[in-house]
Amino acid sequence: MSTTFRIALRFLTARRRAMLMSLACIVLGVGLFIVTQSTTTGFEEFFIRTVLGTNGAIRVEDRIQPTIRTMEVGNGSETAGYTIELKDGVRYIEGIEEPEQVIKALRQFANVAGISEVVYGSADIRSSFKSDEARVYGIHLADHLSVSDLARQIVRGDLAGFRDNPTGLLLGVRLADRLQVQVGDSVLLRAGTELRRYRVSGVYETGIGDIDKVRVFMHMGEARSLLRKATGASFIQVDLYDRERAPQDAARMQSVLEHSVTSWQQREKTWLDVFRALRISTGITVSVFTLIAGLAMYNTLALIVMEKTKDIAILRSMGYTRRDITRIFLWQAAIVLTIGAILGSGLGWGVTEAVSRMPIRIRGIFTSDHFVVSRSVWHYVSATGISIVMVMVASLVPARRAARLEPGDVIRGTAQ
C-alpha cells in the first residue's frame, strides 16, 4: 500500500458525513443510470426484435427506372439552340416483375440468411359476425418462416394446420377478435370480383397493432388466384446474418438489383429515433445525480484541504512533493468513487431485476405484459465511466489547490 494511499484513507474519515453524501450521490447516479439505460434499451431491443421478426431486415420492392428529361441549351436563338438529355430522377414501377431473377441475385450476397417472396393485396373479410378490411399476404410458408418469427407468433392453432390446408389462413389476433372467429371457423374473402371461402388455421400476434388488425397470411397459390396476380411479387422479404449491416447491404442490393431496397433501420427510423432520444434524455437526467456527486466531492475535498493545510505543510516539510499531495486527494476521490461504483452497480442490478418483474400491459408498437429490460455490461461501464469523469474532474481542482499550498506560508500563518 503506497504512503499516499494510506494517508488518503485516513483523511477520508476527516469529513465522514460529507463523504457519505458524495458516496450516496455516486451510488444513486450509477444505479439509476443503469436502471434507466436497461429499461430504455430493453424496450428498444424488444421493438427491434419485433419488427425484424415481422417485416424482416430488408425489403426489396418496386423496380426503379431512371427518368430522362431534355433541356434546351443556349440563348434560344435559331443558330445557338440545341438540347441535351439529363437524368431527372427515378420512377418506381410497382412490384417485382421477375422475382426469380431477383431472388437468384439476392442469394449471391453473403450476409443473406433467408428470402421470402410475398404477394399482397387488399380484400374484404367476412365472418358470421361482421366484415372488415384485410391485407392478404401470399407466402411460401417455409420461406417466410426463414425471414420472420411467425412460428413463435402463433397464439392459437398451429402452423401444421395451416401447412396442410391449402385454403387455410393465419389471422392477426386483433382481426380475429374483431371478427369473433376461432381456429377452425370459416371466413369469406372478397378481392375484386373473386369471393372465396377459407378456414382459419391459426391466429398470430406480432404485437404491432397495425399488423395484427389487418394482415392475413395465405398460401401463395391461393393469394395469386384471389388477387389475380399470376406472376411477379409485391415485395421480397430478406433476413440477414448480421442485421446491423442492413443499411450497407440494402444500398448494394439497390444498385445491383435496380429495385427499391429498404433496411429495417431506414424503415423504422422514426421509432428508432424516438427510442434513442428517450435513452439519451433519461441518461442526461439521471446523470444530474452524478453531477451532484461531483459537486459534493469538490465541496468535501475543498473542506478537507482547508482543514488539513497544516498536515499538507508538514508533509511538504518532510519531503512529500506537490504530486504526492495531489495524489493523496485524488486517492480519496478514487476510493469513494470505487465504493460508490460498486454499490451503485449493485443497486442498478437489483432495481433492474425488480423492474423486470413489474407487470405492465403494453400494446401497439409491441406486446409485453411486463417491463422489458436489457442486461448489458456496457450500461455498467457507461455509468461508471460517467461518474469517473465527473468526480475526478471535480476532485482535480481542490487536489491541485492543496498541492499549490506553500508550506512556509501555512506554517508562518499558524505560528504567528
Binding site: D311, R316, M318, G319, Y320, I411, A415, Q416
Partner: protein, 231 residues
C-alpha cells in the same frame, strides 16, 4: 577538542534578504543575514517578536525562498533550485520541529515517526518500524507508540515531533520555539532530548527561542534585531 573544518559546515547562508507582505504593507524582514552551522553544535536564534527569526528558519529549511542571498545545504547551493530539488533536500537533510507539534492526528505516534522514512524509502517497512520504535523509546514514549496524536499530551506530542525530525538522520534540525508551548518541566525534557540525540548523531541544531534559559544552554547564541544579527 579539534578545531572545526569546512567539512563540518552543514548549513551556510550569505546575504539573505526577504520581504513579506504586499504594497504598502510590504516589510523588509531579513536584511542581509549570513550564518554558518556546524555538525554537533546547537545554535539559538533569539530576539524580539517580529525581528525575522522564524522567517530565517523557514528560509534555511527551504520552506520559503529568499528575495536575495544564497543558502547552502551540505555544500550544495539550494536557494534558487527547483521545487523538486528543494523538496528532496528537505526530506533527506532537514528535520523540523515546530512550536505547535504538527502531528498528523489520524495517525499513531509510530506512524507519524515513520512518515518521513516512508517518503525517503531507504529502509524496508520492517526496518522503518524498528527505527521508529527505537526513536520513540529514545524520547521516552516506548509504551505509547500506538496511541493516536489526539491521545497524547502536548509534551508527548512534541517528543513525537522530535523523534519524527530525527527519523531520516538529517544533517540539520531546525526547531521553531520547540518548547514555546510547554511548561517548564516539559521544556527542559524536550530540550535535553533534542540536544542529546542531535549531538549523539552529529547533527546541527538551529533553534528559535524566546526562552533565555534554553538559549543559554546552547553552544551559540545569535541575537537578532530588525532582520539582522547583532553582536
Amino acid at each position: 577538542m579539534a578545531s572545526p573544518t569546512t567539512d563540518d559546515i552543514v548549513l551556510r547562508c550569505t546575504g539573505l534578504h526577504r520581504h513579506l507582505g504586499q504594497g504598502e504593507g510590504r516589510v523588509h524582514v531579513l536584511r542581509g543575514v549570513s550564518f554558518e552551522a556546524r555538525r554537533g553544535e546547537v545554535y539559538a536564534v533569539v530576539g524580539p517578536s517580529g525581528c525575522g527569526k522564524s522567517t530565517l528558519l523557514y528560509l534555511l529549511g527551504l520552506l520559503d525562498r529568499p528575495d536575495k542571498g544564497e543558502i547552502w545545504i551540505n555544500g550544495r547551493l539550494m536557494s534558487n533550485t527547483l521545487d523538486e530539488a528543494r523538496t528532496a533536500a528537505r526530506g533527506e537533510h532537514i528535520g523540523f520541529v515546530f512550536q505547535f507539534h504538527f502531528l498528523m492526528l489520524e495517525f499513531s505516534a509510530l506512524e507519524n515517526v515513520m512518515m518521513p522514512m516512508r517518503k525517503l524509502g531507504r529502509l524496508t517497512p520492517a526496518k522503518m518500524a524498528e527505527r521508529a520504535q527505537f526513536l520513540l523509546e529514545s524520547v521516552g514514549l516506548g509504551e505509547k507508540t500506538h496511541r493516536l496524536g489526539t491521545q497524547l499530551s502536548g509534551g508527548e506530542q512534541q517528543r513525537v515531533a522530535i523523534a519524527r525530525a530525527l527519523a531520516n538522520e538529517p544533517a540539520i534540525i531546525l526547531a521553531d520555539e520547540p518548547t514555546g508551548n510547554l511548561d517548564v518541566k516539559n521544556s527542559a525534557v524536550v530540550f535535553d532530548l533534542l540536544t542529546r540525540l542531535a549531538k549523539e548523531n552529529g547533527q546541527a541544531i538551529v533553534l528559535v527561542t524566546h526562552n533565555p534559559e534554553i538559549a543559554n544552554r546552547c553552544d551559540h547564541i545569535l541575537s537578532m534585531r530588525d532582520g539582522q544579527f547583532v553582536a
